[in-house]
Symmetry: C2
């Protein structure tokens, strides 16, 4: 176990110190580029985002992480309610026979279901699945509620936990056995309406991820082999880490009539004919926050875009003599008060740590901006302000702090997306031959290339390259494809993004 | 199964009607006083609050119910954040060995735990409990996070689902196997601080229940026999149904050092001694919404206080000739637009139903206020407004609608609490003899009486009266008790509320 910052304060206690001493910060001990998985583990724990539980693959989401999830919930909830989606809650436990109702779906999920078999001291008559996703339990109700075309469209969403008992090596947020998400489920009268809904929701996700997470997003359609179990097609938002791997963030599925036929969800159209509904489902989970941490962080720890950061501003008062303390603290409190109505701000008045220790601590925890204030600053009627992503200090007149902070936080949000997008663009190469493709993969590039889109071609690629695959097929396609499939030489049908997958 | 209103619209479809016909509303078919449990079941389904699932005791919370839960979440979240409580999320699955760590606690909960025993196709090495409550999993982390008195107080809360596999007859919301709740958990340096926290939280609940749910609340301490498994004492909010039964709504527990000793949660005080922390836990669940429905509803269906109602206002346009339609609809839309920024309002423009049908439908669904507008009203520059709780129509000038609606909704919120409180006061009797007590129970009264507070006395009462028990012991106690225990004749130590329990 890594030493916690709380252990440091325990050492302090023993000394019964009234003055701060040089307590070393238990900072990040590896460079991100050297060992990204160790870096990720340390950041999650030391920035107090995640803790481990006694069950492998199940993690505690600590307040600083959960606060980010609450922001995502608030922002996303406004968007879906604007689209006429209503929130609801369906039972978590799904009888095995119900889960088995749609054949592709059950094959996709049953290998990773956690089963409840006992209630109190009694065995249950039928195993109950903890929902890995809620299509089956929701659509059982949809079949009861939808009778007429007037009941359409039906648009529901739920915020909940799901369990997928994966047996791969678990990683907090990115691959955990329990996670939090929202899952939206809609039913429509026509294929086209459902297609529009699935696309609209993908665009809502993409905008959230770009505007709030500051992540550059590749929007597109998944290959046949990567389509959700039970969907006719899946759309996805993906991104590409500067370290050289692609990752799927969230998906939006067109389910066609696969489930409505299996669950008998139909309506009478205005001609009196019984018609199956056309459905969509779409979700984003706490996995997206793992991607956020992994993408933006640096060797000092977390870097968070202001729109999602739990702490936007930290104020660090500086004084070494008792005589300065009162003046400095009173000025610091005044600044906090002027900012706290508009920003999330913490005045770090802990006496047991030096200012330098606090700088490092809050850089590790990803506070977007630091305001330093000491006796000299007060004499000059200014403070020093340092942006987490840029790292340069700037003197700002006290009278202008609020204005400066507001404009710099907005700028930081923009800059983070701009720089992230530049890195993604710089990492992208278009290739037309198999040799170029293998070379680009070896150089950890994001590849754009002509592809046949056949499942057997993708399977061969995965095997040959130790895990490269198509990420998605972008919506913008060239009018005419100039080359054959870069991978297998057959007729190319699309241009796709290909990369090593996280 | 009860016929759904959606089935009615299906019949309409078959007739391909362009004019509304006299479709009978599938209203509530029993009187509340005649068969309250059937009334409750019908209201939950017909007002589209609840649907049944294939798993007994697990229910679908439909959008109109979930919207009420969202309001509770928003209002309560503001209050706890003001008290320095942070939201977090802990894993749902608890290893059996961890659940067993506090002896009283495990005895209280293990008979109703749902156990996960298989992950995918493999048996698990240890059974995992689906949380019935999260003391054990949270306090495992508390022990790691708390080192110094500077880490105290620690105040966390989570919004989540819990499962208690009860074997009694399940009832939606009131006794369901899965339910939603919040559970707050705090750790403090002293017994007194924890006592204050537990009391503060009880008062937050009581205020929420009075101000928003419009329920009259009995605040007090539970008897020893009714104390939470693992607590040193439990405080509760209770209410008393006009039908003659008492019910517990929510609780706040002082856990003392029971868990901190079992889980080794300690801190170094400023003298360098290792001390166990003093803890509290407190929760309110979707059960409170079942109580809300059961308490306020009448023979027509739901009656909801404006602060929690998903639909505060419904506008019903009235026209029989096509020539009137345009004028009426245009006026109705104007009114909707003037109200929708401040109130939740629906303009019921369904063409397949008559105005009278809509009145009944929205009375059943508990819209707080109905605005009727027809050609005659327009000629008189007025609308007719009807409050759900009072049921009298009033003509209001169109120019004054917004003002009227605002003041009447505020008045309705107040009136509902006033009337509910009056009914509770009227149902309360103070008794001093055993005979009076039994007579009052037979008359379905809420009883206030001197009591010894001994567990064996309470057990005897339950047996003798087929389920009467102490509800709680109010905080306001007389300075001197004038009589001995009404039940057993031993020395009385408290005045308590006694009633048949729901």
């Amino acid at each position: 176990m890594v030493e916690q910052t709380t252990s440091s304060s325990e050492k302090q206690d023993k000394k019964n110190a009234s003055k701060p001493e040089k307590v070393p910060l238990a900072g990040i001990t590896v460079k991100k580029a050297d060992n990204i998985s160790e870096w990720y583990t340390q950041v999650l724990q030391k920035a107090e985002l995640i803790d481990y539980s006694l069950v492998s693959g199940c993690y505690v989401l600590r307040p600083r992480l959960y606060a980010m999830w609450e922001k995502v919930q608030q922002l996303f909830d406004v968007e879906i309610k604007r689209k006429g989606v209503q929130n609801a809650y369906f039972p978590m436990l799904i009888p095995e026979s119900l889960l088995n109702k749609e054949a592709h779906h059950v094959n996709g999920f049953s290998p990773e279901v956690a089963w409840v078999t006992q209630g109190g001291n009694s065995p249950l008559p039928e195993r109950l699945a903890i929902r890995p996703t809620s299509e089956t339990i929701m659509y059982e109700s949809f079949a009861k509620w939808i009778r007429s075309h007037r009941d359409l469209p039906l648009k529901l969403n739920q915020w909940c936990n799901v369990v997928r008992w994966e047996f791969k090596h678990p990683t907090p947020l990115l691959r955990s056995r329990e996670f939090l998400w929202q899952e939206g489920h809609t039913a429509h009268a026509t294929h086209e309406e459902a297609a529009q809904m699935a696309l609209d929701m993908l665009n809502v996700y993409a905008q959230l991820l770009e505007d709030v997470y500051a992540l550059p997003i590749l929007r597109g359609k998944k290959s046949q082999g990567e389509t959700f179990a039970g969907a006719i097609y899946s759309l996805s938002c993906e991104t590409f880490f500067p370290s050289g791997k692609g990752i799927q963030i969230c998906t939006s599925h067109h389910l066609g009539t696969n489930f409505s036929k299996a669950f008998d969800i139909g309506y009478l159209n205005d001609k009196g004919n019984h018609m199956p509904v056309h459905q969509t489902s779409w979700g984003i989970s706490t996995r997206s926050l793992g991607i956020l941490v992994l993408f933006h962080g640096d060797d000092k720890g977390l870097v968070l875009p202001p729109k999602i950061a739990p702490t936007q501003i930290v104020i660090v008062p500086i004084y070494f003599a008792e005589v300065d303390k009162k003046r400095v603290m009173s000025a610091a409190v005044k600044i906090r008060k002027s900012l706290e109505t508009d920003f999330s701000v913490i005045l770090d008045d802990r006496e047991e740590y030096t200012p330098g220790w606090k700088y490092n601590d809050w850089e590790m925890k990803g506070a977007c901006m630091r305001i330093e204030i000491g006796p000299k600053d007060i004499a000059n009627e200014q403070v020093m302000i340092c942006r987490r992503d840029v790292g340069k200090k700037e003197a700002v007149p006290i009278a202008k702090v609020k204005e400066h902070v507001g404009s710099q936080l907005r700028q930081m949000q923009k800059d983070m997306l701009t720089h992230a997008t530049e890195r993604l663009v710089a990492a992208t190469v278009e290739v037309t031959t198999n040799e170029e493709l293998l070379k680009a993969l070896a150089e950890k590039k994001l590849i754009k290339t002509a592809w046949c889109a056949l499942p057997e071609c993708e399977a061969a690629l995965k095997e040959k390259t130790d895990g490269a695959k198509s990420m998605n097929i972008p919506f913008e396609q060239p009018e005419k494809l100039l080359s054959s499939c870069t991978l297998c030489g057959k007729t190319a049908t699309v241009v796709a993004y290909v990369a090593k997958a996280y």
